[in-house]
Structures are given as C-alpha cells and as structure tokens.
C-alpha cells in the first residue's frame, strides 16, 4: 500500500528530519506502527520531504503531491478504500486521517519557518541614518525671554511692548524724573537720530503705562535697548532687558524681595543663595541690587587650577554675581505721572537677558548672541 503511494512522490526530493518541526515525531511513528503499519513508510517519507522543502515553491509542490485535493497521496489512499474489508476500512480510514492531519501540521510548521527565514534574510541595517529633514532651535535669548515671561505671567504680570525709539520729549521727561545729574551722565550713552532717541532702558515703559492705566498695575516690559558703546567681548551697542512694575496700595520691599527670590529660584536654582543690597538708581528709592552666589566658584571666590588655584574670574573673588537692579518707585516718578505716592506704593525691577543667559549656560562672550553662528545656536 505504502509503496504504491510512495511511488507518487519524487524520490529526488530533499529530506530533512521533521523532529525540529514536530517534537513528538517518534511517538507518532510508534502510534502509526500500532494502528496501521502499512502507512508508516508513507508518513515518514512525507514528513521528511515537507521538512526538507527549501523554499515556498518546493513546499507548495510537495504539499500538492501529498495533500492535494485532487491527486494528493492521501486522496489516492482514500480512493483505494472500497477495496478493503469493513474492518480494514475502519482502521485505514482512521489512520489516513491521522496522517493527513499530521502532515498538514508539518507543512504549516515548515511554511512558517520558511517565512521567518526569508524575513531574516531581508533584514535592514537599522543603524543606517534616516532620511532626515532640518530641525530648528529657538534662539538662546528667546528661551530665556520665554522662561522669564512665563514666570512673570505666573506671578500675575502681563506683558507690554513699547516702541524702541522715543521722542526727545519723552527722553527729556525721563531725564527730569531722574533726579540730579545722572540723566545727563547717561545721555552720553544715548544713540539718537535727528528727531528721536533710541531707548537706553526698557524703563520708559513704566512711565507710559502709569500715565495710561490706573493702579493696580502688574506689568513686564521686554525689549531691545541701545547704548553708544564700542563692541567687545563684554559690551554691545544693543542688548535686551525686561523691566517689571508692580503698583498697588501697600506694596513694600518685602513684596519686592519675595518676587525677586521667586525669580532667582525659578530661573537659576531653588537652593542658590541670593542677597539683596542697596544701590543707587535715580528712579527708585530705596534702590536694590540682587546678587546670586557665583556659580563658577560655588561662592568660594577661588577656583582650582594646576598651580594651586586663583581668584575666580567671574565674581572677581567677591563670591557674588549681580543679576538685576530694582527698587521702590521714586515718589517723584509717581507725582510726575499723576499717582499719589501717599496712596500707592510700588516696586520696579530690570534685568538683562544676556547676563542671565551667560550665567546660566556659561557663555563667555556677549558678541556671540547676535552673530548667529549655527554652531552656537544649535547648542541650545
């Protein structure tokens, strides 16, 4: 029986041990030996050629020969059945169905294996770079500006934008507000056109805001300012400031201190020591300077070098670095804009974006900011 069926299979077909595909191969052969020994050779050969099929085409041919609906070996075997006795038929029918199921399993397992082998052969070099477009980075000063505006918005300060040029009249009034000689002293640093002057501070913003609005006021004024300065590593003729103004009943230096310390914690580090000390600015009284501990030397005033250490070049050994100027709005400023200094008090502060960025990122030269070298911009 088996022999005639076997003759339908190509004897040149490659064979392989199906045990890798069906772990219970030996048990199946034993079971078949018991049930219908005539089919053992068929199953052995059939499972071996399925397991030995090299690719999908070979497997399909062998599947057709073994399990094909029309001319497959199993179909042929079933066709022989009427020749058998009733008892033989029972056994043979059961055995053929068993062989059919098992061969199908071997076939499916082999088909799966061939698919996997093929995918493995087509594997990509996933380490090759992708087709990549360009990425854009915001300017480092934009990032600092955004951080500051976000912070101050959170503290209830709205932003206001002022023109960068003002008339002589505005600047003159500003100079008058600055008691005494400092207005004239500063005038040396003013860049001006025939009829206009470029602002040297963002502070003129306060004057306009206080003239046009009623307290309470909580505002920040970001912008570019100009000075008649020769450009070098630490000076620019144009740079950026953010001024802040808070006017209400009973605003005190304690509110100012809280605002400045919140700024330092958010923009620098929560545990970075800060201090405020007196300083003179013409449009505030009392005036305040805020310092943060020098990050370069960790507040020691010295840095280690190969030959035993030297004075910290950033804080010059003072252990502190100035970050901003502030103070209580001068009563003369209030009077000039029609606010009663007995009813309202307020504070103002002003800080430079470049100074903050330089401290935060260790940028050594102020010139780098407006040079726009991509190798610089892309770091941030």
């Amino acid at each position: 029986m088996s022999d005639t069926l076997l003759a339908a299979l190509d004897s040149n077909w490659s064979a392989a041990d199906p045990a890798a595909l069906t772990p219970d191969h030996a048990a199946r052969l034993a079971e078949l030996e018991q049930l219908d020994p005539a089919l053992v050779a068929l199953y052995r050969r059939g499972s071996e050629v399925l397991a030995g099929a090299a690719d999908a085409n070979a497997l399909r041919d062998r599947h057709t020969a073994l399990l094909g609906r029309e001319r497959g070996v199993i179909t042929l075997g079933l066709a022989e059945m009427p020749k058998l006795s009733v008892d033989e038929r029972k056994v043979r029918g059961k055995a053929l169905n068993l062989v059919k199921r098992w061969l199908t399993e071997v076939h499916d397992a082999r088909r799966e294996a061939i698919a996997l082998e093929r995918e493995a052969a087509d594997a990509l070099d996933v380490t090759l770079p992708g087709r990549r477009g360009f990425t854009g980075r915001p300017h480092v000063l934009s990032q600092v500006r955004d951080d500051l505006l976000d912070l101050f918005h959170g503290l209830g300060f709205s932003d206001l934008h002022e023109p960068r040029s003002g008339t002589r009249r505005v600047q003159l009034r500003e100079a008058q507000l600055r008691s005494g000689p400092s207005g004239a002293r500063r005038a040396r640093h003013v860049l001006r056109g025939p009829d206009v002057v470029l602002r040297t501070h963002t502070s003129p913003g306060w004057v306009r805001a206080m003239e046009e609005r009623k307290p309470p006021l909580r505002l920040v004024f970001p912008g570019r300012v100009y000075r008649a300065e020769a450009v070098d590593a630490s000076h620019m003729d144009q740079f950026h400031q953010i001024d802040g103004l808070f006017v209400d009943r009973n605003v005190s230096m304690a509110d100012l201190k809280a605002t400045l310390n919140t700024f330092a914690r958010a923009i620098y580090r929560a545990d970075l020591p800060t201090r405020i000390i007196p300083i003179y600015f013409p449009f505030v009284e009392p005036g305040v300077q805020m310092d943060v501990q020098c990050v370069t030397c960790s507040g020691t005033g010295h840095i280690a070098t190969a030959d035993g250490g030297k004075r910290c070049p950033v804080c010059k050994g003072t252990k502190w670095v100035e970050v901003l100027g502030a103070g209580m709005v001068h009563p003369n400023v209030f009077r000039a804009v029609g606010i009663d200094p007995e009813e309202y008090t307020g504070f103002a502060f002003g800080m430079g974006l470049e100074r903050i960025a330089m401290g935060r990122y260790g940028i050594p030269e102020i010139r780098l900011f407006l040079e726009n070298d991509l190798r610089f911009l892309e770091q941030f």
Partner: protein, 813 residues
C-alpha cells in the same frame, strides 16, 4: 575709590577684620569690588652696599660697581650718575620681576658682566624720581639696615586696600572721611582722638588778599591763603606711601599734600605759584568767549562762556574745579604759594568737564557735589601738614568768600518706613539709625524732625531717609511677603501670542531662530528697503559707533543676510534662519514707524541627510539630494501661512530690485499685501559676498495680530460620501495655476470640497503653445449624497469655464 585700612584706622576705632569692613560697606550700598594687599611688594630686591664704583672700561656714562649683597660680592653695571662707593642701595637680584614686569637677567653690557640691577625710586614705583639710585638710608632714616636682607623687611606691614564702588549719589564717599563715617555707623565705631582734632580744625581767614568772586552762582565759596617761604621738594616716605596706596604717584611735597587732602576729605585743593599770579589777585569769573588757557597737561584749551575760570589780575590761571593752568604751576623754584579751597556749582563743573572732554580727580568730585562745609577743616589740615613739612614756611595774606548754608530739615514718619520696607520700625530705632549716620534728630509727636548733614546732598525727601534706615538696618532683615495677586491676573498681549506662534511655526519648518542687530549700514538698508518696495526713508543715527551701524534696519533682511554669509564662510552646507523683529522707517509721523515682521532665509541642500544614490536622474526630475529651489522654499512659507491660519493667501508675481527676475512673489489677503517671497537677486547677495541662491520670505505680523483676536466658529464635518475626480486641462502656456485654480473653483461652486494640483506637463502630446495642468477634485454636499448626474453637470460647467476664461480645454485620456 580706594580705601586703605591703615588710613581708615587713623579716623575710626572699630573692631573688625578688613573682610568684615568690606562686607559691612557692601551691604550698606558701597560695593567693595576687591581687597588687595599693598606694600612689601619687592620680592628679590635686597639691601646692598656699593663697595666700589669705577668707570666702565668701554662706556663713558656707565659705571662698573662691586656690590656687597650680604656676604656675596657681585658685579653690577649701572648708569646712574649718583652711584658711589659707600651708598646703601636696593639691588634687584637675578630673577627678580620688577614692579613694571621686567625680569632681571644675567647680562653682558658693553662687554662687562652684570649680575643684577641697582634701582631708582621710579623703578620701585615709589615716586617719579629717576635722577639716580635710591639711597636707602634716606628712605628708611632711623632704621638699622642689614646688608643682604630683603628691602620688604623695612617697609611697614602690608596694608589691606579696599576697592570701593561709590554710588553716584554719594560723593561724600569719594574721601576716606566719608567712608569712615559709614564704617563707624556700620560697626558701632568711634572717631579717634586724631579724627576729632582734624574735624574740629578751622582755617582762619583775614581780609588781606585781593579776591573777588564775580560769579556767585558758579562759586558761592572760595578761600585763598598765601604761604610764604615754602621749599618745594620730594615728599617724605609716609606721604609717598599714603598716595601710592590710593594709586597716585608722588610729584612734590606741595602737590602731594593737596592730593592727600583730596583723598582724605574729598575736598579738591589747588596750589598756585604766587609769583606767577599777576596782582597777586584772584578773580573767579565766567570765561570770555574764545578765551584760551594751557592746562597742566600741556594742552591749550578754548573755553566757552559757560566755563568758570580762576583768573589773576590779567588772565585765566585755572579752569575752576577741573584743572590748573601751566603758567602758575608749582615748580622747584616756587617759594610762595596760594592755596585755593573752593566750592563750585556741580552743574557748571560738569558741563565744562564734558565740553572739554577732561575729567580729573577734582572735577569728578565737584560735579557730584563736595561737602560745602568741609573746606575749612580740609584747608586747615593742609596748612598744618605743610608747616610740618616746611618748617620755615609762614602764612601770608588770606581771604574767604562764603555764602551761608541753608540747613535742610525733613520730616520722617516711622509709619512710612514700615509701609515701604515691609518690616515694623519703632520711632526709637529710626532715631538710633539716623543718629549713627550723624543726622540731627528731634521728636515731633509720632514723627521725627531730621537735620540733614551738609555732606548728604542726596537726602532731599522723606523716602531718602527711609532708604537710610532700610540699608542701615540691613536689607537681609527684610522678610519675604507671601506672593499674592490681589485679584490681578496676567494676560498675554495678542502681539506676544502671535509672535510665539510665528516662531513656533517657523521652527517646525526646520529653521533656526536668529537674533540680529538693529543697526546696519546705509547701503544695506537702502537695498533691503528697495526689495520690499519701501520708499527708503531711513532713520539715521547722528552719533553712530561705526559705519556698519549708522541706520536702523528698515526690515530684517540685512541682519539675516549677514548671518547667512557668516555661516557660509564658516563652511555651513545649508543655512536656514529666521528672525522676528521690527523694521523701522520714517513715515513722517511723530515717531518712526516700527513694523513687526518675520523674515526667513533658506539656502543649501533639501534634506539634512539622505543617503539615496543619485543614479541617472531624468531631466527635470526632483532630486532629493539637490539644493532648495523656489518651490521647496514656497512650500515652507505656505505651510507657515497655513499654521498661522492665514485664510486663502493670494500669490502673485512681484518684481523689485533685490529679487531674481521672475522668481519673486507677493502674498495678499483680500486687498492687503502681507508677505513677499522669492529668490534673492545677485546684486543684493553680492553685497554680502554670497554666491549661492538664497530664498527669502518676509511676512508682516501686525495684520495677524489683528486677526488673532477673532475666535473661529466650529463647523461640523460633512457626513455624506464625497466624489473624487481627476481632471487635466490644456491651457495656454502663459496661464497661471492661480488663474485656472480660481476659474475651476468659481465654476464648481459650494460642493467643491478640495482641489489639489498634482501634475504639470509639457511635452509630446501637448498642443503647440499649451501646457497641461492636472487637478484632483473632491465634491461633497453637506446634506445629501451627490448624484452622478450632478457631478457630470459640475464637470461640464468647469470645462466650459476653462474654455471661456482661460482658452483651455479638457485633456481627454
């Protein structure tokens, strides 16, 4: 201002280290920038004796000396005329680095070995004296000198010198006395006996000198004192060292004393050679128009009538408060001097100093304000010291002109202090702190009546006293009040919102953000203004710092082009940059017009990275490895406009200088132009030495700020199936996509949901003079499913419209 601790201790008794003094001054508003040790600065220089000084065999002016350097005998070549056997001199041994930085090395001078250098006073930076080698037995008179020991041994202990940044409103801090007052208040110190004596001294004046103040406004107070039989000569070492600690070199005993008093009291003094004064008389008056004077620095200066001069009977001899004249300078031959101690109007000194561009130690103090009451004590101190230095000197004629000082009285409410500082202050505490600073205080109910000391010119308002109390008490004692908003809430201005969105949308296109300078050259500005068709009314600076920054930028093109050129020079293969900022033009208004805009530039390859092989490209095929072209760039700008929610922007050809002909466009929304885009022209790029094509985009943000306030209304997407059709048309070559697009849209009507160009073709099969444009169309009705017949009808309308309006026809398959 330098503050030597030794000098401070002559004035105040206190118990603190120099570091603690520095800390106290800093926290009171006198920022101490550093503490330096001064003195004993001569490592390597030893006391030596000259054993023999013989003529150098090969040089007439040199001497060959045998030197005893303490058990070692050295040969030294010396050029000084005074060197002689038996002198005790400073010897710089081999390897010494001199104060000026020169290192002493073994040398052969005219064939003779020299194993060191004998030093003059100037070489040790002790004085200007370079006439000969310093005789140490004179410098250290009374000290026993051991040959071979370091000279540092004989100098006093090193002195700590504080470098103090004096606040602009505190000119009293420009003298040791003023800083001593702060230290005294800060550390609870006391005046020394010597200080009390110096402050109590008064220079007496007779009415015997011919002095007239003809300009009482400019000079309310002037004291003139003649001193006869003075001997001009070198200063004693204590005086030399005192000035040296202040960074001032010794000149001669008279000038040194005026400087000493200047540094100590903050009161400038001037000494004239009496013999050179015509009269002798002093007239303080306005300068005559065009009046000339040669100042001590040897420069002739022309004065305006605003300047105040000190004149004698005939001519100007000094510029008041700024600098003395050369003709009346004290010199070695001077035997009598006239001392000037005056108070000049700060504004007048300031204006003169500025007009002459001449700033001196005196003018710096006068223009900020000298204590108007200190003159008498200061001149008394000068005269006392002068009589000590020149025992034969005698006081001669004198006169004082003096305006009475108005006392300044302010009222201080402790409640105001509490309110401004945010910390409760009792009236006793306020009184205590003000008294420590020598304010006169009397009680008046719940307030204080405060007499302001003459030297505190900065205190004119109650709030100035609040600051005195706040800083004396210490800013570190101020608490942090809990943050509260009092009902206020922050809003972002529409402008700030649009700026942020504009930046983010451009960053998303893979462009880096630049921040460029606003000041550009005139030629750059003109070219940039022209590119946007703006009348080039630039805003010029009258005092530019350089030619590269003489005008305000009319738009942001120049800065970005500079940045682009810079990066190309640095070897960048692609540059993609944008900036948001204001362009400034004079539009005849009260202020220049500032237009908020975004400007972007792209050049270089299309992708940051691809590794596809190029292969043989079909002509005109899109090469992923190629450089960005007009339409790549336009795609970026269209995507940006779309992210900015610009509703149906209209692109039109635009021509202006600065752009490549035929490759520039303007973008309009409705009737207003909002943007420009295109490839920049050679002439513009050449200005920046850029040799590759650069594509630019300029968009005005103000219209978007206005539009941003509108809130969009939601629309529910259609739920009925849409119908798609691809249609291609032959149209005359000159017909633009925009034209055809508009024609198709108009003909299709409301049910047209989208229309996208997908192919442009010209070649075999296209009729002569025509091109083919193919569109993917999608139709959808809001309320029902479209019937095939309806779509057919729409299509027929479109074909008819194309034929009528564009002279085109449907391209049949």
């Amino acid at each position: 201002m330098k503050l030597p601790i030794s000098w401070l201790r002559q004035w105040v008794e206190y118990d603190a280290t120099p570091q603690q003094v520095a800390e106290a001054l800093t926290t009171r508003g006198f920022y101490v920038e550093g503490v330096e040790l001064h003195g004993r600065a001569y490592p390597g220089i030893v006391v030596a004796r000259v054993l023999e000084a013989n003529k150098h065999p090969n040089a007439d002016k040199l001497k060959l000396c045998r030197i005893d350097a303490g058990g070692v005998e050295l040969k030294v070549v010396c050029g000084a005329p005074n060197v002689a056997a038996g002198m005790t001199v400073p010897l710089a041994t081999l390897g010494t680095v001199m104060p000026n930085g020169l290192e002493i090395k073994r040398a052969k001078i005219r064939g003779e070995e020299s194993e060191g250098m004998l030093c003059s006073a100037r070489e040790l930076m002790l004085s200007e004296d370079h006439s000969g080698i310093l005789e140490l037995t004179e410098l250290f008179a009374g000290q026993e000198l051991k040959i071979g020991s370091p000279v540092d041994t004989y100098f006093p202990e090193p002195d700590a010198v504080l470098e103090v940044e004096v606040p602009f409103n505190r000119p009293d801090g420009m003298g040791v006395l003023g800083l001593a007052r702060e230290v005294k208040a800060a550390l609870g110190g006391r005046w020394t006996v010597r200080a009390q004596a110096m402050l109590a001294e008064r220079a007496k004046a007779a009415d015997t000198f011919d002095l007239k103040c003809e300009d009482a406004e400019g000079c309310p107070s002037y004291f003139a004192q003649v001193v006869e039989h003075v001997t001009v000569g070198p200063s004693p070492s204590w005086l030399v060292r005192a000035l040296e600690a202040m960074g001032q070199r010794s000149i001669n005993n008279i000038v040194d004393l005026t400087n000493l008093v200047l540094f100590e009291f903050g009161q400038p003094l001037h000494a004239f050679d009496l013999a050179k004064l015509d009269g002798p008389a002093i007239r303080v008056r306005r300068a005559n128009a065009g009046e000339k004077i040669t100042t001590l620095d040897g420069k002739e200066r022309e004065l305006n009538t605003e300047a105040l001069v000190i004149a004698d009977a005939k001519k100007a001899v000094a510029i008041a408060g700024v600098m003395g004249g050369e003709t009346s300078e004290v010199s070695a031959s001077t035997t009598s001097i006239l001392l000037e101690c005056a108070w000049f109007q700060p504004a007048r000194v300031r204006r003169t100093s500025k007009a002459l561009a001449l700033s001196t130690d005196a003018s710096k103090r006068y223009e900020r304000g000298v204590d108007p009451a200190i003159g008498s004590a200061a001149s008394a101190r000068f005269l006392t010291l002068l009589l000590e230095l020149c025992p034969g000197a005698k006081l001669g004629a004198s006169r004082r002109v003096h305006a009475e000082l108005e006392p300044r009285t302010l009222t201080l409410r402790p409640s105001r202090v509490t309110r401004l500082v945010g910390l409760p202050f009792a009236i006793d505490r306020c009184e205590e702190l003000l008294r420590a600073l020598e304010f006169g205080v009397t009680r008046e109910g719940v307030a204080l009546k405060v007499n302001v000391p003459t030297w505190r010119l900065d205190c004119t308002l109650e709030d100035d006293l609040v600051e005195e109390i706040a800083r004396s008490n210490g800013y570190d004692k101020i608490p942090e009040a809990p943050l509260h908003t009092g009902g206020a809430y922050a809003t972002r201005t529409p402008r700030e919102r649009v700026v942020r969105r504009a930046r983010e949308a451009m960053l998303a296109r893979g462009l880096n953000e630049a921040w460029c300078g606003s000041l550009v050259s005139e030629s750059e500005a003109l070219a940039a203004a022209e590119a946007l068709g703006d009348e080039p009314k630039l805003v010029r600076l009258v005092n530019p710092m350089s030619r590269e920054g003489e005008v305000l930028r009319p738009n942001l093109l120049p800065g970005l082009l500079r940045a682009c050129a810079h990066n190309l020079r640095q070897g960048a293969s692609a540059v993609r940059l944008f900036e948001v900022g204001a362009g400034v033009l004079d539009r005849g208004g009260r202020l220049p017009e500032e237009r908020l805009m975004i400007v972007a530039l792209v050049t270089g390859q299309r992708w940051k990275h691809t590794h596809d092989t190029i292969g043989a490209l079909k002509e005109g095929a899109y090469d992923v490895r190629g450089a960005v072209d007009f339409h790549d760039a336009k795609g970026l700008w269209e995507a940006w406009l779309s992210e900015m929610r610009v509703d149906s922007p209209q692109w039109r050809a635009y021509a202006a200088a600065g752009w490549k002909p035929g490759a520039s466009a303007e973008v309009a929304v409705g009737a207003s132009r909002i943007a420009w885009a295109g490839t920049l022209g050679q002439s513009l790029l050449r200005q920046y030495e850029i040799e590759v094509p650069v594509h630019a985009f300029v968009a005005l943000l103000e219209p978007m700020v206005e539009a941003a306030s509108a809130t969009p209304r939601a629309k529910v997407p259609g739920r009925f199936p849409s119908v798609r059709r691809d249609l291609a048309f032959f149209v005359p070559r000159a017909t633009t996509h925009a034209r055809l697009h508009e024609c198709l849209g108009g003909a299709a009507g409301e049910v047209l949901r989208s229309i996208e160009l997908f192919d442009v073709y010209e070649g075999p099969g296209t009729p002569e003079g025509m091109k083919s444009l193919a569109y993917a169309l999608e139709f959808q009705h809001a309320e029902r499913t479209l019937a095939e017949s309806e779509v057919q009808e729409i299509q027929a309308r479109m074909v008819a419209a194309v034929a009528r309006d564009c002279g085109g026809q449907l391209r049949e398959r």
